[in-house]
């Protein structure tokens, strides 16, 4: 499951955290290490954020190489480790990676579809020191879940969610929402209540990789969002103190961009299955990236010295309207990958921003989604599923 999490919170009792001034003054620590252990995955989700050409990646880092990455990042201050993919359970050394990472002091998050998991493994991982398993669901109903995931996985996921709870982990359910499942948000939340989830993340699809390819079929309509938001807020009130519900509006419907990765090269470090180090999991697709590899360079050399990590660090690279905008310290100009995908220039203002001269591109994408949604089912563009065959065909591998 290739999704990512939220940044560090600032709360009473804390010594203060991210703000624009810190970022401007110094290179900070890579607090969050996302280890994409493998691109192997039993699912074929059309909203996957993996690169379209993932099938071209042949050689994965070895156990020793991963442990070296973990050790180096930890020494530089990383506390959160995300084990993701692809499906991280496809790595036979997963338990060893968990055990060693825990010894180093990481807080370890396993981001999984649950496919390939069983109750014994859930218990073994706990014993090895895994802190948190995030089980992702595609939708609440069996048919839609299996359709979207391209496999028959739903009952198994339910069982795994129960096993996670029974083993004393906090239960975090993640539902990736889009046009084809967002109308089921109440069923999704009822399922979460039934499973006694501690946290529910109603994660809106982000349009990168496969999801971008399928955007016209996935982008929700405004009226769908308004309904979903009202329902999410009702459940938030009802479940207060019981189950925490995170609901985020898709950035296409906002008029300011998200603070993507909490700033480029600021707290977030992704290492892809082949050892490529990236400031975010989608950055591989940007032009002009040198794609430093952990096989050749230390994490410190990459984080502090590489062209890729310095390219959009801080604020000097910005163009107008970001350059003179007070909000740049808050949103860092939005997402570089989104700016590139939509405008062809990764240094432009994220077109989500209503101050961007390219904002019309977002409005046009919404309109295209609406036209696509209005078509009868047989005339609509089919979803392209994320699998090696489609990857090779589309990318000419």
């Amino acid at each position: 499951m290739a999704t990512t999490g939220s940044e560090n919170n600032k709360a009473p009792g804390s010594t203060g955290g991210a703000n624009g001034m810190n970022v401007r003054d110094a290179i900070r620590q890579p607090l969050w290490l996302l280890a994409e252990l493998t691109y192997s995955c039993p699912l074929q989700c059309p909203y996957c954020s993996n690169p379209m050409d993932f099938a071209a990646v042949k050689s994965e880092l070895t156990t020793e190489q991963w442990l070296s990455v973990f050790r180096q990042a930890r020494e530089m201050g990383a506390t959160q480790l995300g084990l993701s993919g692809g499906e991280p359970l496809a790595r036979p050394d997963l338990i060893e990676l968990i055990r060693e990472a825990r010894k180093m002091g990481f807080y370890i998050n396993l981001i999984t579809s649950g496919v390939g998991l069983n109750a014994d493994k859930v218990a073994e991982f706990k014993e090895a020191g895994l802190d948190h398993i995030q089980v992702s669901f595609q939708a609440s109903s069996e048919d839609l879940n299996n359709l979207i995931a391209g496999t028959d996985a739903f009952q198994h996921k339910i069982e795994m969610a129960r096993a996670v709870k029974a083993n004393g982990y906090p239960m975090v359910l993640c539902f990736v929402t889009h046009r084809q499942n967002i109308d089921q948000i109440d069923e999704i939340l009822d399922l979460a209540i039934n499973l006694e989830a501690d946290y529910v993340e109603l994660a809106t699809t982000q349009y990168y990789g496969w999801a971008m390819h399928n955007r016209d079929q996935l982008l929700p309509l405004k009226e769908q969002l308004e309904r979903a938001e009202a329902i999410a807020h009702r459940y938030q009130d009802e479940q207060k103190g019981n189950m925490k519900i995170y609901y985020v509006v898709p950035d296409y419907y906002e008029d300011r961009p998200k603070a993507c990765m909490n700033g480029w090269g600021n707290v977030f470090l992704t290492v892809a299955p082949d050892g490529t180090a990236l400031p975010c999991h989608a950055a591989r697709e940007l032009p002009g990236m040198q794609l430093p590899n952990v096989r050749d360079l230390s994490i410190r050399e990459i984080w502090e010295g590489s062209n890729d990590f310095n390219r959009f660090r801080g604020f000097d690279w910005m163009q107008e309207p970001c350059r003179s905008c007070d909000e740049r310290f808050k949103d860092f100009g939005g997402c570089r990958c989104q700016a590139y995908m939509l405008t062809g220039d990764p240094a432009k203002t994220d077109p989500v921003c209503s101050k961007s001269p390219d904002h019309h591109l977002i409005l046009e994408a919404i309109e295209r989604g609406r036209m696509e949604a209005a078509k009868p089912a047989e005339k609509a563009k089919p979803l392209v599923f994320r699998n090696p065959k489609n990857s090779k065909e589309i990318c000419g591998l």
Partner: protein, 94 residues
């Protein structure tokens, strides 16, 4: 002061999935939780350390802090912190 969630005989515990540890790179104690981290200031760390180390009542915890800090009058501060920490979902009651 105990008109909030926590009474002298309440036993506070870290919330499920929360871990308290010292971070050399941050030069402070932190709370780690799913996909997040809170850096703690000194007083917060002193209280959470005692919640993390052993199960004890709020009254016992306060007594311990008084010994450590020369009998300082810190009851109100502790109760206030516990309520805030509970509000942030960092701790729960046994």
């Amino acid at each position: 002061m105990s008109d909030g969630i926590f009474k002298p005989d309440s036993i506070p515990m870290l919330a499920l999935g929360y871990r308290f540890q010292w971070e050399p790179a941050q030069d402070c104690h932190v709370l780690l939780y799913p996909e997040g981290m809170v850096k703690l200031n000194g007083p917060a760390a002193e209280i959470l350390k005692r919640i993390n180390d052993k199960q004890q009542t709020v009254a016992e915890l306060i007594a311990e802090l008084k010994v450590a800090f020369n009998g300082a009058d810190l009851d109100d501060d502790v109760y206030q912190f516990l309520e805030e920490a509970y509000g942030n979902d960092w701790i729960r009651k046994q």
